[in-house]
Amino acid sequence: MTRFIVIRLLMIIPIMLGVSFFVFILAHLAPGDVTTTLTGPYATEEVREQLRETLGLNLPLPVQYGRWLGQMLQGEFGTSIANRRMVSELIFPKFASSAILALTSAALAYTIGLLVGIFAAARPYRSFDRISLAVTLMFGSMPPYWLGLLLVLLFSLTWRWLPATGMTKIIDGGGAVDVLAHLVLPTIAAAAAPAAIIARTVRATMLEILNQNYIKVARAKGIRRNVILRKHALRNALPPIATICGLQLGYLLGGVLFVEVIFAWPGIGYQLWQAIQARDIPTIQGASLIVAIAFVLVNLAVDVFNAYTDPKIRISEGARAR
């Protein structure tokens, strides 16, 4: 298992290189020049060129990329061009905010998705299954910004139970209770679609497994349904369920941009969007990289989990590694 994890960790390096390279190229291909906002409408081309030189933006792209990579290897994300802050100062708190929202949303989505999926598969084509199919289809198709606005309208403006925006109160805010109160609505808005996707995946996977011959044998032997579901069906269904759960968590960690915008949640997705608008390349690079690392690590965790729960995967990966 250790060997398997080490190999997967090493594979992160080329993935990160690829991600950072593509982000770098895309950021440079986008039209617009950051020096226009940094020097204003009256600046001469000479002043702009001087600034490009100071910022290293006039260097050939491979050299710029090499410099950035060199910085990264020393653990430095560089300085934001637009804000003059260290990129790490900007993105780590925002990533932490996104992670809080992502983890609570994922927890909610997993709980609802697994419970609904399993119960629906346990009694297929009965009323709970049919209702859950319809409801999950509705939530899966519902844009998070629309659901977010609806939640705000009901819970913040009509009943005044929960705050509408932000991560803490803007005046004298802070503390766990304050953050929890602010978390509720964005968590529901962000979790709705993943919960629906997970529920439908769990249902489909479980149904497929429940039709396998070994399940029929187990039933014929008189084993109780709960035991069949828990010990025989669910365990075998875990790898695809874990994979979809991991993917959903990865997306959530990347910042649920619409949810962040609707709830003014200070997350990494919103920060990245602002950086793109400002053509703040170091911040774009740093934010993209941290999101990519989170995504890859979550998927690695899923792979490890799958290998742990499914010996077939562990053996085949081990054989390939040899």
Binding site: A30, P31, G32, D33, V34, T36, T37, L38, T39, G40, P41, Y42, A43, T44, E45, V47, R48, Q50, L51, S80, A82, N83, R84, R85, L90, P93, L149, V152, L153, L154, S156, L157, T158, W159, R160, W161, L162, P163, A164, T165, G166, K169, I170, I171, D172, V177, D178, L180, A181, V261, I262, F263, A264, P266, Y270, Q271, Q274, Q277, A278, R279
Partner: protein, 530 residues
């Protein structure tokens, strides 16, 4: 939907008192007697270093932290335009030839870090953006303030409390030209600069203003607190918080939920409902900016003046003001903006006349139609009026291709001037002095030397501007500007002015004393929150 929102809001207000679940109050209650004003700002702010600061939103924070020699009087909303009032200079004189400005500085003023302010400090700050040999010279600051610094011949310390600026040529508007938002000649603490340097000074703003900088969380919030040692009348507010909320619906939700108590750029359709719910609406008809399209004199599509005239005649500007802006703007037919001494509020020009427009287009040889490209930018709401233009022009046979660009892309393109394949582009801008029109139209302001991206040039107009800034009498100077505007709009037809915007601001009922002044930034020493 809006009716539902209103009903829900009323229901919410009725049940708010009883409906709590123990998660704590989230209303924006004032911490102390003066209270805290929380303004939901619609976009990001730029750097907090006055010469390098740019933008209306940023100026709202910087002009509260920093002071210039003079500032605009923004506490008298009924005045047709804002005039200068003393700030760090308690008085000033202009020589009869209009060349020498002498400032009598206030005594005993200190920066927030305790550094004393005097004439040496004033010169140090001015040299930072106009003397390339000064060690503190800022290239980017000088670039931003070029419109102001290009007039300066020299700066002098006459004595500890007297600072003098000599111009290269007479310009009676020069001092007020400095009251712009993109590049601000306001004073920073030299001690803070010595500590932090050019690179980091914007992260540690230290001025003499009525508010002190407390913290800035990029793209989230900026917090200022009252400066109790301010030399002028201290602010009433204890704290002023700018909270960035880019989505209009979210801004309104935050206002309704009591999480912010001031909102600008509200969705126009919501204004009536919000007023009905008890929020205060403030409009300002004399904001010095006009929203317009500039014609490209190099574009084959609009090179015929009859075409440009026809386009002006084809637009139902009153319709834009009434139907699109819902009464938050006024139709305009000149590029001299309101809020300046040269503005003529009664000017009637280019009434809506689609038949006349068709006739002119036919004369110009376009009876079978014409296609033009119109570059526009994403500002959240401006596409609404640009689509109105597109619809109106379609009625007279002009097919408009709206080329919408994201702001940074647009700005880069706009600053380079229009290429031949673009017939017109859009902008909303102005200053509190009419000389802004010279910036947009002078022959020597073609890119890259200025913002005249439509390549307009008329020496007669330039001469009128030259005379206007040498004229101290506003009435006489206004006559020069109005003649320039007449030539630009009636003879050359270089622009398509559409409307002026009245900056609707919505305030919670507990905000008292706020004044929506004749600018896009406000005097936050005036309001309090109960």
């Amino acid at each position: 939907m809006l009716n539902y929102i209103k009903k829900f809001a009323v229901l919410g207000a009725a049940t708010a008192a009883g409906a709590t679940i123990g998660l704590g109050s989230f209303d924006a209650k004032p911490a102390h007697a003066g209270g805290t004003l929380v303004w939901a700002i619609p976009a990001a702010m730029s750097l907090f270093d006055p010469p390098q600061s740019c933008g209306w939103l940023t100026k709202n924070a910087t002009h509260m932290i920093f002071d210039g020699l003079v500032e605009l009087e923004l506490g008298k909303p009924e005045a047709p335009w804002a005039v200068l009032k003393p700030a760090l200079a308690e008085s000033w004189t202009v020589s009869d030839d209009g060349l020498v400005y002498t400032f009598n500085l206030r005594k005993g003023v200190k920066f927030h870090d305790g550094t004393p302010f005097d004439a040496t400090v004033a010169k140090w700050n001015y040299d930072r953006f106009q003397d390339p040999t000064a060690p503190q010279f800022s290239k980017t600051g000088a670039a931003f303030l070029d419109f102001y610094a290009r007039w300066i011949a020299k700066t002098e310390v006459v004595d500890a409390n007297t600072f003098r600026v000599t111009l290269k040529e007479p310009n009676y508007e020069w001092l007020q030209v400095g009251q712009s938002s993109c590049g601000q000649p306001e004073m920073i603490s030299p001690a803070a600069f010595a500590k932090w340097g050019e690179k980091d000074i914007a992260l540690h703003p230290v001025g003499t203003g009525p508010f002190k900088f407390v913290e800035r969380e990029i793209d989230v919030k900026v917090v200022l607190e009252r400066n109790d040692d301010y030399y002028g009348t201290p602010a009433k507010l204890d704290r002023l918080i700018f909270r960035q909320i880019t989505d209009p619906a979210t801004r309104i939700a935050a206002l309704r939920a009591g999480e912010v108590n001031m909102v600008t750029e509200p969705p126009w359709d919501e204004i009536e409902n919000l007023v009905g719910e008890g929020f205060q609406l403030q409009l300002q008809p004399n904001v010095p900016s006009v929203w317009y399209a500039q014609f490209n004199m190099k574009s084959p599509a609009v090179k015929d003046v009859r075409v440009r005239k026809a386009i002006n005649m084809a637009i139902d500007r009153e319709g834009v003001a009434k139907e699109v802006l819902k009464g938050t703007g006024k139709a305009e037919a000149g590029i001299l903006s309101a809020g300046t001494f040269a503005y003529d509020a009664n000017l009637k020009r280019y009434p809506y006349d689609p038949e006349g427009a068709k006739k002119l287009l036919k004369e110009a040889g376009y009876e079978n139609g014409l296609e033009v490209t119109f570059d526009i930018f994403d500002y959240g709401w401006n596409e609404a009026w640009e689509k109105w233009l597109q619809r109106d022009l379609k009625k007279v046979g002009v097919d408009v291709k709206l080329n919408k660009l994201e702001w940074m892309t647009y700005l880069g393109k706009w600053l380079q001037g229009m290429p031949e394949d673009v017939a017109m582009d859009s902008m909303g801008w102005g200053w509190s002095v009419p000389y802004w029109t010279a910036h947009a139209t002078r022959c020597d302001h073609h890119p890259p030397n200025g913002i005249n991206g439509g390549w307009y040039c008329n020496k007669k107009v330039d001469e009128l501007y030259a005379q206007a800034i040498k004229t101290q009498d506003h009435a006489k100077a206004a006559a020069f500007y109005r003649e320039a505007d007449r030539i630009i709009m009636e003879e050359d037809v270089a622009f398509l002015p559409v409307f002026s915007y009245h900056n609707p601001i919505l305030l919670a009922a507990n905000v008292k004393g706020f004044v929506n002044g004749q600018e896009n930034w406000y005097d936050f020493t005036l309001p309090s929150v109960e």
